[in-house]
Amino acid sequence: MGDRIIVLGGGVIGLSCALELAKRGYDVTVLEIGTCGGQASGAAAGMLAPYSENPEYADGFFRLCLDSLRRYPAWQEEVKQLSGMDFEYTESGSLYAVYHEADLSALTARLSWQQAFGTHAEIVEGGRLEQLEPQLGQARAAVYCPEESHVHAPDYVHALEAACRKVGVYIHEQLQELTLTDWKNDIRVHDRAGQIYEADRIVLCTGAWSGSWTEQFGFSVPIYPIRGQICAYPVEPSMLRHIVFTSQGYMVGKANGMLVCGASEDIAGFATSVTDRGIDRLEKLSKKVLPFLNRMQPTLRWAGLRPATQDGYPLLGVGSEQPRVIFACGHYRNGILLSPVTAAVVADLADGHVPELALGAFQPDRFG
């Protein structure tokens, strides 16, 4: 058995890291204050869309997202095999729809650099756009990106948890409060009931709750919650073929017949409540983009807290003065997408290997 590693947080990032670490022979324990996948992971719409989410330029974050997308086909297959569970993974492609003539030059500029990164994306309009997505209202044009895909996030997270258990990860849930009492000589975590967990290293996957590490380590960890509200309509599964993005939100049709529309970006502290105003806004948006929804009402509504950071990039790496501590938090809108690459990077760091990807922009103590 290798070193003992505690993974703090049982969201999609924590579970993915735990799975990869256990596969590489570590003795892994996941500690979760609530329920695995109970926060942002279980609320996410599951889009795997590095091109649509990064329209500006090819920075390190775009490369991280793209690397993770490319890992997905093998990764999701492995999670399914290890867990013995199935979940939706659909290589649907996406349409980024625009409504003004003036949007076209930005789309052209986006494609001009993204095509160098392997996408066969193209601008589609008129009959071709209608053929691709017959239910789309009158968009001026769209970027069709065939490589983007989506997963059913809650089912994916359940399968990850089951896979972790199958490969021998210990998972402790409902711990309510966890305190890191030693990280210098050893790793020691106390839960509220007084139980002590010891390990050689720790991976922090604490999502929107990561801001509290500021006090612990004496450097700034500017991570805070941004609430995302989502609603869903019951439709025929084939009504929407692609992920549809607009500047105001996205829509994606799931295999179970739910058409998901998201998401708000609310400044509401740690409140996970759903508001009428938030959902009304999504309802108006979805009905404008997909007119066939006009006769319907969303039947599901929910919200989750995304871990936002000050510069928009996650914290991914080992603390320069905390060699036993690996940070993997602050993934904001892209936690589901980034789960396989984060797991690989964290496991490489645990192995003492330098990951292939440039991680400089994600250094955990970069905020000083």
């Binding site: 500006e56 003004h100 003036a102 052209t108 105001q248 939100g249 970006e265 609310d266 108006k284 000050q310």
Partner: protein, 259 residues
């Protein structure tokens, strides 16, 4: 002493900092950065906002609480006709009758098309808009835009988002010298020193977005830019010393001698 007040289109402004609302990592950082900047005028691309329900817009919904002056822009337009059409839509939404004319003919440099910019400015002034054209730093063109009725003229320091700073300070100086409307440097700045340089050249204000929104700490950078605008303005008004080839002692020895 006369108050140093910036007035555009008859409106007295509390700040010389005009801030863009795009590219922030999230709404929380955006709000904090706007707060720290002290900016009263905020700009955004009309094509990206929900004009039917501005209060529902993904960006504007976070800006409802304070009395900002919105400066919608026509970015993405490649002709005067298109810019005019976009401006009319923005005004019809009730957001603002101020308009930043932004017409680019080249997706790579996003440099403004001077001829179409002048045409759109003429047309929109006739239609009663308060027009602030984004233009190249050509002094003659800037004057022509003023003569066409622009409420302020906004020459770029460098192409949008490049952070290259003031590429032609000589031109910006000439623009300021001949202007009878406020001159706002719009686009291309990177850090506080570029801002101070622009303000010392005598411009009346700064419009920027990327250097704040994409800084590692956008809130702190917003504050830095605000201070740079104030410092540059004060330095410009205070009047700098002449440059000399050799040192001149700042205090004479005589008064140090113990008597």
């Amino acid at each position: 002493m006369k108050k140093d007040q910036l007035v555009i289109g008859g409106k007295a402004l509390s700040s010389r900092f005009f801030l863009g609302t795009g590219r922030y990592p999230n709404p929380y950082v955006q709000n904090q950065a706007i707060e720290a900047s002290g900016a009263e005028v905020l700009t955004f691309a009309i094509r990206r906002v929900n004009l039917d329900e501005p209060e529902d817009d993904s960006i504007l919904q976070h800006l409802q609480e304070r009395p900002f002056t919105f400066l919608p822009n026509t970015s993405g337009a490649s002709t005067a006709e298109e810019a005019v059409r976009i401006a009319r839509m923005a005004r019809a939404s009730g957001l603002s009758d101020w308009i930043k004319v932004e017409i680019s003919a080249n997706a790579q440099t996003l440099l403004p098309d001077p001829i179409e910019t002048l045409k759109a400015t003429e047309q929109l002034v006739q239609e009663g808009f308060t027009v602030l054209p984004y233009t190249s730093d050509d002094p003659i063109l800037c004057k022509r835009l003023e003569e066409a009725g622009a409420a302020a003229v906004m020459p770029g320091g460098a192409p949008i988002g490049t952070g290259l700073g003031i590429l032609n300070p000589y031109n910006i100086g000439l623009v300021v010298e001949s202007a009878d409307v406020p001159i706002i440097v719009d686009a291309g700045l990177g850090s506080a020193q570029d801002v101070v340089q622009a303000m010392e050249l005598g411009v009346d204000g700064i419009l920027m977005n990327t250097p704040v929104a994409r800084a590692k700490d956008p809130v702190r950078m917003a504050r830095a830019m605000k201070l740079a605008i104030e410092a540059g303005r004060e330095s410009y008004l205070a009047g700098r010393i002449d440059k000399r080839r050799y040192a001149s002692a700042s205090s004479e020895y005589e008064h140090l001698i113990v008597k």
